[in-house]
């Protein structure tokens, strides 16, 4: 799972959970994959991203010094930051780890890079 996907995932599907975002990420095994840098795509993605979750993911991925804690106003002109964002969002592949619902503490395991979002009967 790429960290861009992490930024979109919620645990809202669980019964009684209101927001379910951001999930608490734990990485136990990750991999670097090189992908082509496309600045316009990162730009287009920006309004959809939640910055606190981006920063949170950067901390977990040990890249916190690359990403400012508060969203800067002009990211579009800042090529360097766009590149760092690209690296964080698209080049880090989480292979093993877990996601934790912030409200119920329910744990969704990540195995072989696939997060398991299946729920049990009583959680639907």
């Amino acid at each position: 799972m790429k960290l861009s996907t992490y930024n979109f995932l919620t645990s809202m599907a669980i019964k009684g959970v209101k927001v379910g975002f951001p999930l608490k990420l734990t990485i136990s095994k990750k991999e670097l994959v090189e992908t082509e840098f496309n600045p316009t795509f990162v730009e287009r993605l920006l309004p959809k991203l939640d910055w606190s979750a981006v920063y949170g993911a950067a901390q977990v991925a040990e890249l916190a010094e690359d990403i400012p804690a508060v969203q800067p106003e002009s990211i579009v002109d800042n090529e360097q930051l766009l590149q760092k964002l690209h690296h964080l969002l698209f080049e880090i592949d989480v292979l093993e780890g877990q996601l934790e619902c912030p409200e119920t503490g329910r744990i969704f395991p990540i195995t072989d890079g696939i997060p398991n979002m299946l729920l049990n009967e009583d959680e639907v």
Binding site: F8, A13, R44, K48, G113, I114
Partner: protein, 277 residues
């Protein structure tokens, strides 16, 4: 007709390693899946600006439909209930991320995430209750309402599916409309048994005209000619329209058979009188 896979086992059981393997080796399956994914992408009707968009692939399986999205430079995230199929997707090193999840439990995404959604041959699975606590109506409602929220307000969602009967179509579309979607069914090649494909095209941002189906006959020909039909019915019953020459000749023939006095048939028989009379 072949047995429907939905009737044999739930999807997470049916798409086991053997079945999943077919989706990476059987060229016919691959060809059909890719063709349907291309058509679904066409029905999404993105503006022609070469921009890459974020698309949700529901029931992505081994990522065959995702590859079609990649070819058009879109980014995608896939969700599927079968682990075996997703393993194949990871093995094939598809560009999109895949998530293990059940459609009927809702889409686990933040509101306004996706610019579009496609789904190839997955929706019919939701019409079945595979577990005792499953209720197809509720699961469809949950699915469509969470999908509606995770799409942007200009997005479309296109589902290719195999409905079992008209009740299923009715159930699926009514739940989609309840969730706030506009749109309807596009049936490609409606007159062919094999090539016939159902696409449910849903829109979030207000009602728009539905795309044209492929292989459907044009509107004029489909309309029934009323007069022609009436005449055809008469002919089928063996009686000519009343007051016509044939009708009069038939009546005279009957009188002759009955031995009654009848004027001979001439070129004047059943001739219309002029207004002077």
């Amino acid at each position: 007709m072949a047995r429907r896979p939905e009737h044999s086992a739930p999807p997470e059981i049916f798409y086991n390693e053997n079945e999943a393997k077919k989706y990476s080796t059987n060229t016919r399956i691959i060809e059909i899946q890719v063709e349907m994914a291309e058509r679904a992408l066409e029905l999404l009707a993105f503006p022609d600006d070469d921009e890459s968009r974020l698309i949700l692939d529901i029931g992505c399986g081994s990522g065959l439909s995702g590859s079609v999205l990649e070819d058009s430079d879109h980014m995608w995230i896939g969700i599927d209930i079968s682990k075996s199929m997703l393993d194949i997707a990871v093995e094939r090193e598809v560009a999109g991320d895949v998530i293990l999840g059940d459609m009927g439990e809702g889409m686990p995404f933040k509101p306004g995430t996706f610019d579009g959604a496609i789904s190839i041959s997955a929706l019919q699975w939701l019409c079945n209750a595979d577990k005792t606590y499953h209720n197809p109506h509720k699961r469809l409602h949950k699915f469509f309402s969470t999908l509606f929220s995770c799409l942007t307000r200009t997005a479309r969602a296109v589902f290719q599916f195999y409905p079992e009967n008209s009740d299923q179509i009715e159930m699926v579309t009514s739940q989609a409309m309840k969730a706030g979607f506009y749109g309807g069914l596009v049936v490609d090649y409606p007159n062919s048994a094999k090539a016939k494909k159902y696409y449910l095209v849903l829109m979030t941002g207000g009602a728009a005209e539905l795309p044209k189906a492929l292989g459907a006959s044009p509107e004029e020909e489909r309309r029934v000619n009323y007069i022609k039909k009436r005449d055809a019915c008469r002919e089928a019953r063996g009686k000519a329209p009343k007051k016509s020459r044939d009708w009069i000749l038939a009546k005279k023939e009957r009188r002759r058979r009955q031995g009654l006095e009848t004027r001979p048939d001439t070129k004047y028989t059943a001739r219309k009188r002029t207004g002077r009379f």
